[in-house]
Symmetry: C2
């Protein structure tokens, strides 16, 4: 089946429109409770709700071999996938990994990748269950994670209601700050450098999603949740659109803390906006969730805003202090920044 514009390059159409167009082509099934379009799929199987997610890392887009060792990439592919399960309120149980790579990659790189995968599986309480190997011109690593909801309903993107608190667990902007330090060529391990800088680079290379906060949010009655893969504003916008509400974030709670300011200072402030790291830096894999305002937030979450009812034609917006934020909203595929660029 072809549609008008089928000959256009996908870079013209953009990621969100392409995904929406593709999703419409898939029928449902009685055992598919949540299909494409949320952080993970929810399958109704005899033993209860099962979560499944898939996520890919591409060399020079999502990592550079000059900066990331095999172990870093292994940790990252596991963490990205497990964060998607946590964002549904679930607990990771297993990971599959497909590795496509050129034949000239050293054997040790593949072994390190396996070690990174195994380490992050252990941190998440999950197990590496299977894989595939393929040859390709650049390294492409795909993880697929399976998890359990422990008999709870999944927390979708679509349940936020006006009056809810918006809260976050995990860090915002640290991955972006670490990337900025790498891009500036700063040797953060050199004598005399502030050790927090090395920590930021480490968090960029090996994200540390707060897995336990996902089920904790579900137990505390979270109405909607997502992980910050593409940046707070962009991912919060996905909750706002799916729920038909506006998320109004508190500018004070998005003020960069001393660690981010240390990085901005080290970068000489020139062209550096530490606030933009917080608002639109991707790949921290923090959890952003909405909660009924009449209950205490679960451990690990801090409030960063309120859910408001959407005015006509204003549904899906994310505001900061009641206004549309300026500047980039987050990571964009096809024409966005490339690590190699």
């Amino acid at each position: 089946m072809t549609v008008p514009g089928a000959d256009r390059p996908i870079s013209d159409l953009g990621e969100d429109a392409l995904v929406a167009g593709v999703i419409r082509r898939y029928p449902g099934a009685s055992w598919l409770r949540v299909g494409p379009g949320d952080d993970a799929a929810v399958l109704d199987l005899p033993g209860g709700g099962l979560l499944a997610a898939i996520d890919t890392l591409v060399e020079d887009l999502d990592f550079r071999r000059a900066w990331s060792g095999g172990r870093d990439v292994g940790v990252k592919v596991a963490a990205q996938n497990f964060a998607d399960l946590a964002a549904m309120g679930g607990r990771p149980m297993a990971l599959l990994v497909s590795l496509a790579l050129p034949g000239d990659v050293p054997v040790g790189w593949a072994h390190e990748l396996a070690d990174g995968v195994a380490a992050e599986c252990a941190r998440a309480g999950a197990v590496m269950a299977g894989g595939d190997l393929a040859e390709a011109d650049q390294i492409v690593v795909t993880g697929s994670a399976i998890g359990t909801l422990d008999s709870r309903p999944a927390v979708l993107r679509s349940g936020a209601v006006a009056g809810d608190l918006v809260a976050v667990a995990g860090e915002l902007g640290r991955s972006a700050a670490g990337l900025a330090l790498l891009e500036a060529g700063i040797d953060v391990g050199a004598p005399g450098e502030d050790p927090v800088l090395a920590g930021l680079v480490a968090e960029h290379l090996r994200p540390v999603p707060p897995y336990a906060a996902g089920p904790a949010a579900a137990r505390a009655g979270a109405t909607a949740m997502i992980d910050t893969s593409d940046g707070l504003l962009r991912d919060a916008g996905r909750i706002a659109r799916a729920s038909g509400v506006v998320l109004d974030l508190d500018p004070v709670s998005l003020t960069p803390g001393p660690v981010l300011l240390a990085a901005a200072r080290r970068l000489g402030w020139g062209g550096v906006d530490a606030g933009a790291w917080v608002r639109s830096g991707g790949e921290d894999h923090a959890l952003v969730a909405c909660f009924p305002a009449d209950r205490p937030l679960p451990d690990g979450f801090r409030a960063i805003g309120r859910v408001r009812s959407a005015p006509p034609a204003g549904s899906g917006a994310v505001l900061v202090g009641g206004r549309r934020p300026q500047g980039p909203s987050g990571w964009v595929l096809f024409g966005g920044p490339r690590l190699s660029g």
Copy 2:
């Protein structure tokens, strides 16, 4: 952790040794009944045994855009993954698909891929459950399939015993014959061409695994099973090695039939070995299984050999008519043939 030879390129080491080295690095878990190394993982979850597999298609290695439309690639990625579940005796229930591609690919190609995935999901009785989109220099499509064992134990590669019959369900050599026709530049759709040739090309582009034969084999007491992704001899060798036996195949049952001979004739016989298509052509995704010889074979299976006890140092061999076969055994990664080459 590094090992001696960690600096060697993986093309030196080869696929099987690399996989073995990587698998050793993964610990198990109480809920992982079958981990890396078989066709699919078996997870012990509250509701019973769950199957999970992952498999990747890379442009110019596994398909060429000049020959395969998006729909073909969508069918193929679903079929390869579901065949892995069938090879464990399971029934496909869901598929996740990650699509990495350059920004200049037409939107219609991605839509056709979705249509192919949806069509093959429907044929297998499964549902497309979720996906991911990434940017890459060449198209890399990864599928991850989830299935159920319907409370039966999984059929592994490792259970074949001396005296078993070796049997196959599905076609052998048709995908390889279709590829040879494409490589020769023959327009199989032209007027006057034998229509069986177009059928062979179609089976190369869109494999047709006999999904129902997987659970049927399990119900009939199959002791070992695998699907022919890399060619009969290579995949039968994996059963032989995992089971510590020898598989002795009957040369008469591996004789090319009239359809393959029609393709060989059309190719002028020059350099064409239709028997090699049967023995070592990959990507048919037929099911090769071993069965106790005292019971009838299930519908769809035909006997092609016997399992024999392994002589000292001979474990893992595949013989044809009692002898080591000559010629290539099947598809090999890293240094093997490339579709683009």
